[in-house]
Assembly symmetry: C2
Homo-oligomer: 254 residues x 2
């Protein structure tokens, strides 16, 4: 048996998230159906993160064990030919036999897009959070920088999938304003950590936006860490602005 490691992109708009569910269109379900078509095997694939409904990915990590002898490049083409157009395998390689996309994940990087303009961009409606109030980017950037490092992020964990350990290390947290095409202003937030709690990125973004709107000072997102209380942080940002950008793995030969 061989272990295959895939990097997968998807437009989450028309999926009920990553995880397989009966009678729902999910990314995991689409991948397992494609593998069944190509190799004849009914198997489970493992994803590095369980993205929610409407959340997108440029680089979801996926692993599975197969008896197929197809070369990774051949497998990539065959699977892409059997996948719907809103999922694409970007890379395929053979990993060591015990490789697991969850267990060997050593960090992830997410992007969150905010469309910040007076009128919604028709092309961003499923791909960004539309906010018409002008946001103070400098204050948001300062708030983000205060969260970099090793902290207990319990205040940024949504209910539903609690973790025993809530300490994580944010390695990078950037806030940038970009002009796309001629008409549109967007804010690009990127955050990288050794791991994330449930809804942590969306809760961090919702909190930064409170700062950007001037409702809270730039020091507030750091201050509420100590309370370990989700009710103190800002609202959860909507899913359509979130992109799983990249997964980092702890093994060199995966």
């Amino acid at each position: 048996m061989r272990c295959i490691h895939l990097t997968v992109a998807y437009d989450g708009t028309e999926f009920s998230g990553w995880q397989w569910q009966p009678d729902r269109r999910t990314v995991q379900g689409a991948m397992e159906a494609a593998i069944r078509n190509v190799t004849g095997e009914s198997l489970r694939v493992v994803g590095s993160g369980r993205t929610d409904t409407g959340v997108h990915a440029y680089g979801q990590g996926v692993s599975f064990t197969t008896a197929s002898q197809l070369e990774p490049a051949v497998l990539l083409r065959a699977l892409n030919a059997n996948l719907p157009h809103d999922v694409r395998i970007m890379q395929a390689r053979e990993a060591r036999s015990d490789f697991c996309a969850i267990r060997h994940s050593a960090g992830k990087r997410y992007r969150y897009l905010i469309h910040n303009d007076s009128i919604p961009d028709v092309f961003a409606r499923n791909r960004a959070w539309f906010i018409h109030e002008t946001l103070d980017i400098d204050a948001m950037r300062q708030a983000a920088q205060g969260l970099i490092g090793r902290h207990d992020f319990k205040s940024y964990e949504s209910a539903g999938s609690p973790r025993l350990a809530t300490i994580r290390t944010i390695r990078d947290f950037t806030v940038t304003r970009e002009t796309t095409f001629d008409v549109s202003q967007r804010i690009v937030i990127e955050v990288e950590a050794d791991g994330f709690l449930y809804n942590m990125v969306r809760n961090l973004v919702g909190t930064l936006v409170q700062v950007g709107k001037g409702k809270q000072p730039a020091s507030w997102p750091t201050e509420i860490l100590a309370a370990r209380d989700r009710r103190l942080a800002g609202p959860t940002a909507p899913p359509q602005g979130l992109y799983m950008l990249r997964v980092y793995f702890s093994t060199n030969d995966s």
Copy 2:
């Protein structure tokens, strides 16, 4: 009666083009329904260009005559509240009473996006033409520059909506390669002219792509002008890469 001039953006993916048709979802139909809701009037709006199914717009020009006394800014908000999420009015102003978005159009600028990479980008599938062969941008740029100026573009006019006069002046024609996000290579083509024949932009792009693939020399798109024969030019590029970017008008006070 007042004349209102709108600038309208739409994602053409789920529309059967601009022009009103019975039992079809069209942009003109959506705009007229919104106006009926806001002003109570059943009227026709005029669009500067009749975009086809799947073609997008950042700046379609629209005009209509109304008895409504609503200020343009109020009208903009009210109409946007009554339009589906894939159409947005970006600007509204009062024009002189005889203003017409077709008759006073003095030029248009279009953008065409090509996604040129080894694997399709899931986010560009309805918004660009995917071509996996590497394209020679320099040759395409040289070909585009040869077409700038006043020429008979009969060879670039599709059947279906013939014009008596087929001479047009291309004022600008650019080809640029851009890297978006981390994963994706795209080619941005922009062409501006005093007017366009039916499918002219898509026929020009299809012809430039033949040059980009090395199937024809950079001089070929200019050489075939003289024949005035559509069969000599390249294939029509698909609609989903095309964006009506901007309309220029001949009146200052529109």
